[in-house]
């Protein structure tokens, strides 16, 4: 089997072999899950390009963004794309969740996929939050600081805060932790959960919407 065929077969196996004809109506799902996953893929690719120039240190982070914006060919565009895809991803996930609720697609026998989707939504919010600090501009610093104040109001919030921000917001250790969470830990967890989400759709075929 050629490599191209293998990839096609792999993608096909993530989805059900047959689908209900009535579930293919566009007004049924508006393809919100598929659109959100597309935005996620764009985020991964544009984020990977940004990694080539971003420096996760308190002294160099802001300068590296300025360099990316002003001196790297197309750097401003990749950053715009990453930001836009991030915002779009969150909006689409939010709407997808609302659609799942309003069509009753969270109900048994798809309760496990509802939980997986819920965790993906929470991780996406956390991913967006950790990405906010990385440019190390005024907006990044104070939005993150305000987020930390919100976190502190949660039960065990101080414990979480001390893990995320062992020194202080915008200080070296917190920047490194946000960076590692943003570029590796959370995206990896999300990718695994997305695959599991698709697999469960395949397992639960025939009952409810697919996209």
């Amino acid at each position: 089997m050629k490599e191209d065929d293998f990839l096609k077969e792999f993608i096909r196996h993530l989805f059900p072999r047959v689908v209900l004809r009535s579930n293919l109506r566009l007004t049924y799902t508006f393809c919100l899950g598929g659109l959100a996953f597309t935005a996620f893929l764009v985020l991964i690719l544009s984020g990977a390009l940004l990694l080539f120039h971003y420096q996760p240190s308190t002294e160099r982070a802001f300068a590296s963004i300025l360099y990316l914006e002003n001196s790297v060919p197309g750097g401003w565009y990749v950053r715009n794309l990453h930001r836009l895809a991030g915002n779009t991803f969150l909006i689409l996930l939010f709407l997808h969740t609302l659609r799942v609720l309003l069509t009753g697609a969270y109900r048994k026998p798809r309760e496990l996929n509802w939980i997986i989707g819920f965790v993906i939504l929470c991780l996406a919010l956390f991913e967006g939050y950790t990405g906010y600090l990385l440019p190390m501009d005024q907006l990044a610093l104070w939005a993150t600081q305000t987020g930390m104040n919100l976190l502190a109001t949660l039960p065990f919030g101080e414990l979480l805060r001390s893990f995320l921000v062992p020194d202080d917001v915008g200080q070296p250790m917190s920047l490194v932790r946000f960076y590692v969470l943003h570029i590796a830990v959370i995206p990896l967890c999300m990718l695994i959960l997305c695959m599991l989400h698709f697999y469960r759709i395949r397992k639960d075929k025939g009952v409810l919407p697919y996209l």
Partner: protein, 137 residues
């Protein structure tokens, strides 16, 4: 099996179109929607008001009324998480928009959605110095 069609090509065609449309829209609008970048982070210059990321602003607005509101958010989150197991939600036999047998869930979801949007708009456009209410336009 007459109500079923093969996923390939029927379902995959829709996936492909959705993928292409989303990709092209993002690639196009990225030319025009600038990612914001302010001056370098300075712990000595505190903005007033200090606002969180846009997707968390609704929580900031809610907590500004009372810290106890965080428990409302957590409680609501827990209700939604456990929804399939609550007595108000019965197993689904078919999928449709706003099914009549889950009116409470429909109402709860719509109210929560509208509440989140409203609180985000208030926090984003109608909050000024010291989080006082101002007309943004």
């Amino acid at each position: 099996m007459s109500d079923y069609v093969k996923a390939s090509p029927h379902f995959f065609n829709i996936v492909k179109v959705a993928f292409a449309v989303a990709l092209l829209c993002l690639l196009f609008f990225a030319f025009f929607v600038q990612a914001p970048l302010q001056g370098p982070a300075d712990i000595g210059r505190v903005p007033n008001p200090s606002k969180s990321a846009w997707f968390l602003m609704w929580t900031q607005e809610l907590v500004s009324y009372s810290n106890a509101m965080i428990y409302l958010i957590l409680g609501l989150g827990l209700v939604f998480l456990l929804l399939p197991w609550l007595p108000i939600s019965r197993p689904a036999d078919k999928a449709q928009w706003l099914p009549a047998d889950q009116r409470t869930v429909n109402l709860l979801a719509l109210l929560s959605f509208c509440g989140i949007v409203l609180l985000t708009v208030i926090a984003m456009y109608f909050r000024g110095e010291n989080w006082s209410f101002v007309f943004g336009f």
